[in-house]
Symmetry: C2
């Protein structure tokens, strides 16, 4: 293991705008995505911003999922951050399908480089 976490940056374009402006739909889809990946949901919070857009987070035992939607642009910015054994691909496919995205971009970042951590074994023993 060279890194502590994996972070997927998901840009979903050309989504179904009506879904992106409905906080209940967004919340349900994000929580379902977490369980489909095999994550354990700890807590979630979603907000509808007037007149448009939803922001939300699902805290999972394995880290988090977040979403921000711009219905006026049919665009959703999603992050999936995990530090456990998670089937991310299943969650990504589910989100693209449920939000009816016709165009997407994915970046994968590694987080927490172990070689940048000084004396990790010493820290663990303390």
């Amino acid at each position: 293991m060279e890194f502590l976490g994996k972070h997927v940056i998901l840009e979903l374009y050309e989504c179904e705008a009506s879904l992106l402006s409905d906080p209940n739909s967004v919340s349900e889809i994000m929580q379902k995505a977490a369980t489909i990946m095999g994550a354990t949901v700890v807590e979630s919070a979603f907000h509808h911003f007037s007149p448009l857009g939803v922001s939300g987070v699902v805290i999972i035992m394995e880290s988090h999922l977040t979403i921000h939607t711009w219905p006026e642009y049919s665009y959703a910015a999603i992050d999936i951050f995990t530090c456990g054994d998670i089937q991310m691909d299943k969650g990504i496919d589910f989100l693209k399908e449920k939000l009816r995205s016709k165009k997407s971009e994915i970046k994968v970042l590694n987080r927490g480089r172990l070689s940048s951590i000084s004396n990790p074994l010493k820290s663990i023993k303390n």
Copy 2:
């Protein structure tokens, strides 16, 4: 404006481990960072995972801040996602100072490329 949002990926190494394992300290520091940047806090949620580590999110009007801590590695993974006029540098400096990080890395990602959005003007008019 070429992008809808700006996303700072902040890797804080060599932090004060005792702070990273205290959910109250982590919550207070993250919420203060949001206000120092000029953001409006909407809601926050923080969890302490047994035996170590804190996960938390601050939803702001301008998007979100998240943190995951690994006290055993003196490491914190922080994200700051904004879509408004925010003084991110002030928040970043505050977080580094308050968590006593001696080594850090920053990546800045742009989110929501407007040229990837089809017919944004049409969408706005609908």
